[in-house]
């Protein structure tokens, strides 16, 4: 075959590959813009603080709560069972295993909604699935879970369940965040042991 034809075929082949490659394979969004827009416009990407409190109380293993604040803020207080991935460190490859889990719901929170929204949009744009936002962040957590009170005279069963959930979450949050770091990891095993005794089961 003529060398000129060979080179032409080779160049066309390379051109086709280049034409269909993402602009920057490692660091550009993979999801189509209209799809990302419609997903982000949905209210389904949010969990309320009451829903997250219930997940925390039940030690829901299908959920991973992710705290996007700085390490200093995380150490001061955090939602029990959450992991700390500071927002500036979001693209660090060490978190790949945490983000790339389709069966685990990842719920992001910051002090308010802004950092969690940035993170949700970035990770969803990069193609990671099952991402959610704790609506209102830690400010809403404090307001609703830690400081809300029932002010009525007669409490309905629904309200009773709601406030019991909040009370349990408040208790766990306050207890675990008051412990020294060395004891925090033992907290949940201690709680499970106590629960199994109450249930009449064995460890």
């Amino acid at each position: 075959m003529d060398a000129r034809i060979k080179y032409s075929v080779l160049l066309v082949g390379i051109g086709i590959i280049i034409a269909f490659l993402p602009f920057n394979t490692a660091e550009t969004f993979r999801v189509k813009s209209n799809i990302l827009l419609s997903r982000s416009a949905s209210e389904d990407i949010y969990y309320s603080v009451d829903q997250v409190a219930r997940m925390m109380n039940n030690e829901d293993s299908t959920v991973q709560i992710i705290d996007l604040r700085s390490t200093t803020q995380f150490k001061e207080c955090n939602i029990p069972s959450s992991v700390n991935i500071p927002y500036p460190d979001l693209l660090n490859p060490i978190w790949e295993g945490t983000f790339n889990q389709r069966k685990i719901k990842k719920i992001f929170y910051g002090n308010d909604d802004q950092t969690s929204t940035y993170s949700w949009t970035i990770l969803t744009g990069l193609g990671y699935q099952n991402n959610f936002i704790l609506k209102g962040g830690l400010n809403e957590w404090f307001k609703t879970i830690l400081y809300s009170k029932f002010n009525g005279i007669k409490i309905s069963p629904v309200e009773n369940a709601l406030f019991e959930n909040r009370y349990n979450a408040r208790k766990t949050f306050t207890q675990i965040n008051s412990l020294p770091d060395s004891l925090k990891t033992k907290f949940f095993s201690s709680k499970r042991l106590k629960q199994s005794k109450l249930d009449g089961g064995c460890e």
Partner: protein
């Protein structure tokens, strides 16, 4: 020839994300993409405030150059034309921080420059509460 057409179509496709994600993180982590109403009043260059709400409300702040584009329609062709033709800053505004933040990331990654979010709070991620530790907290004795 067909290859050339494919490459041209791809390069001119406005819906392809082409900006490095890291740039979005760098621009947002120091709140450098936020502008307060007071700063907006002092803005000397040209700008367009994009009102992302579905229904415009009677605001206390009056914007000189405002265009209402609901968030869900921000990528419609006509609206993209408005964004493309704007010279100066594109200032995103919504009732809540989340909507403008989503729009900011999407438009930033599509290659729009000079994007700002209008917010009344210069530090929206401030924790408004102080955690009060319970000094009597301890683990159950039998687990230690």
């Amino acid at each position: 020839m067909a290859l050339l057409i494919l490459v041209i179509i791809r390069i001119s496709d406005k819906n392809i994300f082409r900006e490095p994600v890291r740039k979005a993180i760098e621009a947002t982590q120091s709140n450098g993409n936020l502008i307060t109403p007071d700063q907006l009043k002092l803005l000397s260059g040209s700008y367009l405030v994009i009102d992302l709400r579905r229904i415009a409300a009677n605001d206390s702040i009056q914007f000189q150059h405002r265009k209402q584009i609901p968030f869900e329609k921000i990528l419609d062709r006509d609206n993209r034309d408005v964004l493309d033709q704007t010279k100066g800053d594109l200032i995103l505004f919504s009732d809540d921080a989340a909507t403008a933040s989503k729009a900011w990331v999407i438009l930033n990654q599509l290659g729009y420059k000079n994007l700002l979010i209008l917010t009344s709070n210069a530090n929206p991620e401030e924790l408004k509460y102080k955690f009060q530790p319970d000094t009597t907290a301890r683990l159950e004795q039998d687990s230690i």
